[in-house]
C-alpha cells in the first residue's frame, strides 16, 4: 500500500473512528455518573432496545422511509417543474421567485394543521410536509442552473443559429444537472425531517409516532433507538444521492477544481 493510499484510507475511516470514540465516551460517562436511563440511557442500553424491539422498529421505520420517499419523489417532480419554468422565462422568474422565497419563509409545521384538516391524520399529511420542504431547494437550484448560462456560451450558440430550445437542450439542461443533484442531497434530508415532524403530531405509524409514544411511556431507550434508526436512514439516503451525483455529473467535480 502506497503512503498516499494509506493516508486516503485514514481520512475515509476518520468519521467512523470518531463516532466510535464518542459512543465509548458517552458509555463511560454514563457508567461513571450513574445518570438515570430516563434522562440519558447508555449506548449499550439503546442498542439492547434496538435488538429487542427490532420488529416494531423495523415496521415503523419502513413506514417512515416509504412516506419520505413518496414526499421526496413528489418534491423532485414539483421542484424540477417549477425550477424549469422559472429558469427559462424571466417573466415567470420575476413573478414566481418572490412567492417561492415567501413560501419558504413559512415554518412548514405551521401548515400541518391544514394538512390534517384536509387529509386527516396518517401518511398523507406526512407526505405533504415532506413535499413542501423538499421541493424548494430543488426549484431554486434548477432555476439558478438554467438562468446563469455564460453570455459567451449563449452568443456562440446564437451565432451558430441555434434556436432557444436548442440552447436549452444543449447548454441549459446539462449545465443545470450539477445544480439539480446538489439540491437532491439537501432535499432528501429535508423529506425525512418533514415526515418525522408530521408523524410526531399527526400519525399512528412511523418512527416519529413511535418516538412520541415511547417518550410518553418514559421508554427513553426506545426514543433514542428511534433517533438512531432515523439518523441511519437519512445518512444512507444522503449517501445514495451523493453516489448518484458523482456518477451522473462526474465532470462537474473535475471541472470546478
Amino acid at each position: 500500500m502506497t503512503p498516499a493510499r494509506r493516508k486516503r484510507l485514514q481520512h475515509q475511516l476518520m468519521p467512523y473512528v470518531l463516532t466510535l470514540v464518542l459512543l465509548l465516551l458517552w458509555e463511560a460517562i454514563n457508567r461513571l455518573t450513574h445518570i438515570s436511563s430516563v434522562i440519558l440511557p447508555a449506548p449499550s442500553e439503546i442498542f439492547g432496545t434496538l435488538i429487542r424491539e427490532h420488529a416494531v422498529i423495523t415496521e415503523h421505520a419502513l413506514h417512515t422511509f416509504v412516506t419520505s420517499m413518496i414526499g421526496f419523489g413528489l418534491g423532485v417532480v414539483t421542484g424540477v417543474l417549477i425550477g424549469f419554468a422559472t429558469g427559462i422565462s424571466p417573466a415567470i422568474y420575476s413573478g414566481i421567485y418572490p412567492l417561492l422565497v415567501a413560501f419558504n419563509a413559512i415554518p412548514k409545521v405551521a401548515l400541518l394543521p391544514l394538512f390534517v384538516l384536509w387529509a386527516g391524520i396518517g401518511a398523507v399529511p406526512a407526505v405533504l410536509t415532506a413535499l413542501t420542504l423538499a421541493f424548494f431547494p430543488i426549484a431554486v437550484n434548477v432555476a439558478t442552473g438554467l438562468a446563469t448560462i455564460e453570455p459567451e456560451m449563449e452568443d456562440l450558440m446564437r451565432s451558430l443559429g441555434a434556436r432557444r430550445d436548442e440552447i436549452l437542450i444543449k447548454v441549459g439542461i446539462p449545465r443545470a444537472m450539477p445544480f439539480l443533484f446538489a439540491s437532491l442531497k439537501i432535499a432528501i434530508s429535508l423529506a425525512f425531517v418533514g415526515t418525522v415532524i408530521s408523524e410526531t403530531v399527526a400519525s399512528n405509524d412511523g418512527i416519529g409516532f413511535l418516538m412520541m409514544a415511547a417518550s410518553s411511556r418514559f421508554d427513553v431507550p426506545l426514543v433514542f433507538a428511534g433517533l438512531f434508526v432515523i439518523a441511519v436512514m437519512a445518512v444512507a439516503a444522503y449517501g445514495v444521492c451523493s453516489l448518484v451525483e458523482e456518477r451522473v455529473v462526474h465532470w462537474a467535480f473535475h471541472a470546478r477544481g
Binding site: G161, A162, R175, W251
Partner: protein, 282 residues
C-alpha cells in the same frame, strides 16, 4: 506578392493587394456607430467603417475599452448598430447571422462533453450538417478528428476539456469554430489568456488553419505582434468611443514565422502601429 521579400513588403503601407480579390468585400461595416442605453447613452463605437475581403484576415487592435468586442457582436448580428449598416456576404445583417465561427478568450468548451463532441457541436446545429447528422455520423466524426489532428490534438478527442491544458483547450476551440466550414471566423482575443510561448504556437496553428481552409477572419486583439503576424490588414481603433484611426496593409510573405516576427520589417510595422495607438491615447 507572396514571393516579395519581407523588407520590401514592409515599405508598402498602402493597400496594394493580390491576396484580396477586388470584388465586393465579404464583410462591410459602413459608418457604424453604437451607443449603449439609447441616443443619450454611452457611445462605444463612432462611425466605424471596416472592410474584410473574401479570404482576408483582418485584425482590429486598440486599447482596452475601445469597443473591440462590441464590434464582434455587430458583425455577427448579435447586436444591432445604432446607426450605419453592417453587411456580410452581400446581405444586410439584421439578426444573428449563420455560418460564422466564433472563438473567445474563454474557450467556452462544455465540460460535460468530450473534446471530440465539443468540436462536433456546430454540426448538430448548423444546416445542412444537422439534417444529415444521422446518416453521416462517421463522416462528421472524421471531419472533427481531421481538424483535431491538424492542430496537434490527435488522440485527445476522448478527453474532457478540463483534462487539457489552456493551450490545448484553445486549439480545440478553434476546431469547433471551424468544423462547419464557416465563411467567416470571428476571434475575440482567443490567445490572450495563454503564456507567451503557447500563444506563439497558436499563431502558427491559426495561420496554418487559415492557409489551408477557405475563410475570412476578423481577429480582435490588443497584442500588436499577434495582429501583424496573422493579418492581411490591421485596423487601429482609438480609445472610447472607438474610431478607426489607422489602417495598415501587412504585405509580409506567408507563411510567416516566429523568427520572422523579430526581423526589422516586421518590427517596424509593430512600432508604427504602436505609435498610432500612443498618439491616440494622449
Amino acid at each position: 506578392m507572396h514571393s516579395m521579400s519581407a523588407s520590401t513588403a514592409a515599405v508598402l503601407s498602402e493597400p496594394v493587394s493580390a491576396v484580396v480579390p477586388q470584388a465586393r468585400p465579404f464583410v462591410e461595416l459602413d459608418n457604424v456607430s453604437l451607443s449603449f442605453g439609447g441616443d443619450e447613452g454611452l457611445l462605444a463605437l463612432d462611425r466605424v467603417s471596416i472592410e474584410v475581403g473574401e479570404r482576408e484576415f483582418v485584425a482590429v487592435v486598440g486599447p482596452s475599452g475601445c469597443g473591440k468586442s462590441t464590434l464582434m457582436k455587430l458583425v455577427t448580428g448579435l447586436l444591432p448598430p445604432s446607426s450605419g449598416t453592417v453587411a456580410v456576404d452581400g446581405k444586410m445583417v439584421t439578426g444573428p447571422i449563420k455560418c460564422v465561427g466564433m472563438a473567445f478568450q474563454n474557450s467556452t468548451l462544455m465540460p460535460w462533453r468530450t473534446t471530440l463532441n465539443n468540436v462536433m457541436l456546430p454540426l448538430e446545429i448548423v444546416q445542412p450538417f444537422k439534417r444529415e447528422r444521422r446518416q453521416h455520423r462517421d463522416e462528421h466524426r472524421a471531419r472533427a478528428e481531421r481538424l483535431l489532428d491538424l492542430v496537434g490534438l490527435a488522440g485527445f478527442g476522448t478527453k474532457y476539456p478540463w483534462q487539457l491544458s489552456g493551450g490545448m483547450q484553445q486549439r480545440a476551440n478553434l476546431c469547433r469554430a471551424l468544423v462547419h466550414e464557416p465563411k467567416l471566423l470571428m476571434l475575440d482575443e482567443p490567445f490572450a489568456a495563454l503564456d507567451a510561448f503557447t500563444r506563439e504556437e497558436l499563431w502558427i496553428i491559426m495561420q496554418d488553419l487559415w492557409l489551408s481552409q477557405q475563410f475570412s477572419s476578423v481577429l480582435v486583439t490588443h497584442e500588436l505582434r499577434e495582429a501583424v503576424f496573422l493579418a492581411d490588414t490591421v485596423y487601429v481603433l482609438s480609445k472610447r468611443p472607438g474610431r478607426v484611426i489607422f489602417r495598415k496593409r501587412i504585405n509580409l510573405p506567408r507563411p510567416r514565422s516566429i523568427a520572422g516576427s523579430f526581423e526589422a520589417g516586421f518590427v517596424s510595422i509593430v512600432h508604427e502601429l504602436r505609435d498610432k495607438i500612443v498618439e491616440a491615447r494622449s
